[in-house]
């Protein structure tokens, strides 16, 4: 009941400040940019006349699932930047300007306060991602060829777990600083450090959440879930839970200094 109140407030806030409009639109644009530019690339090259006379343009048309992976890469880079930016102030900002003081003297559990925010952002981000996926799928069917929708749904599920991990890091960082800029820095820093670590110790860290995206092409192409994808998703889920509990503890400590 109380949790629902907190959740509704978050959703209402995201609607009032237009996040529920612009984030889906931006995700759609991120998803369709690559399919379109890939399709029009030969045409663009031809019309700019950048190639010497007589040169034969030999650009292999990528397979549908390869084009879809391009959309995912865009989301994985710029989409995650957007996620980190829209979540960076959700707790830190409320603590900085003092609203949190008014809310947390009410008999509100810190865990509800955090999970309501987490769920509200997950709702927004997963919806936007799903709409983006649909847009990408539409253009791929139109311009490149057939791609199994079931595989796209499966890919959405696993990519969603990766995004959930990103949101959880950001929520955790939100409780560690009152400055949204610092939260952004810590979130992106953690993601980059994890990526580096996973690349260096690749053989030991098959389960690292950072590897989820690299396992997706197989799933997208064959509809088959590689074992390592199960492990890394499991790792992401466990780590997300730890971040959320950590955030609750940290907020309790920070607010009750």
């Amino acid at each position: 009941m109380q949790w629902l109140t907190l959740y509704k407030k978050e959703c209402l806030e995201s609607a009032r400040n237009f996040k529920w409009i612009w984030v889906p639109l931006v995700f759609i644009l991120l998803c369709i940019t690559d399919p379109l530019s890939t399709y029009y690339l030969p045409l663009i090259l031809e019309s700019t006349g950048g190639l010497p006379e007589g040169a034969v343009i030999e650009i292999p048309t990528p397979l549908p699932f390869e084009v879809f992976m391009m959309s995912i890469s865009q989301l994985n880079l710029l989409g995650i930047l957007v996620i980190a930016l829209i979540t960076m102030g959700t707790i830190s900002g409320e603590r900085k300007d003092g609203v949190a003081e008014l809310i947390l003297v009410k008999p509100v559990s810190y865990f509800s306060y955090i999970t309501a925010k987490w769920t509200a952002y997950m709702t927004l981000i997963l919806s936007s991602t799903f709409i983006g996926f649909l847009a990408s799928w539409y253009y791929i069917e139109l311009l490149f060829g057939d791609l199994s929708f079931t595989n796209i749904l499966l890919t959405f599920l696993f990519f969603g777990i990766w995004l959930m991990f990103v949101v959880s890091i950001s929520i955790f960082m939100n409780t560690s600083s009152k400055l949204p800029g610092i939260v952004l820095f810590l979130t992106l820093g953690t993601l980059i450090a994890m990526n580096l670590g996973t690349t260096i110790f690749s053989t030991y860290l098959e389960w690292s959440p950072s590897k989820i995206v690299s396992y997706l092409p197989v799933l997208l192409n064959n509809g088959y879930v590689p074992e390592d994808l199960w492990f890394s998703s499991f790792g992401a889920a466990i780590l997300s839970a730890l971040f959320i509990f950590g955030a609750t503890l940290l907020l309790k400590r920070r607010e009750m200094v």
């Binding site: 009032r16 612009w22 931006v26 379109l36 700019t48 300007d97």
Partner: protein
């Protein structure tokens, strides 16, 4: 001149494909403008944001939503 003509011709030919893209970009721009008009305070002058939103396609509205809005917290 020839180049512009080719581009326009290409766009015309591919309108069914490109139309959704244009519509989404337009929607994003309109949303940003509505938000800007209703905002009580922005970081930096409003006229500057109007120019950014109108002339920097896609990037303009996004930058406005992320750093231009001040009063949503």
């Amino acid at each position: 001149m020839l180049l512009t003509q080719t581009v326009i011709q290409t766009i015309e030919e591919n309108l069914p494909v490109l139309l959704p893209l244009f519509i989404i970009q337009l929607l994003l721009m309109i949303t940003a403008l509505v938000s800007l008009i209703r905002a009580t305070s922005t970081r930096g002058p409003k006229w500057m944001w109007i120019i950014i939103i109108l002339f920097l396609n896609t990037i303009g509205p996004i930058v406005y939503f992320i750093i231009g809005r001040r009063d949503d917290l």
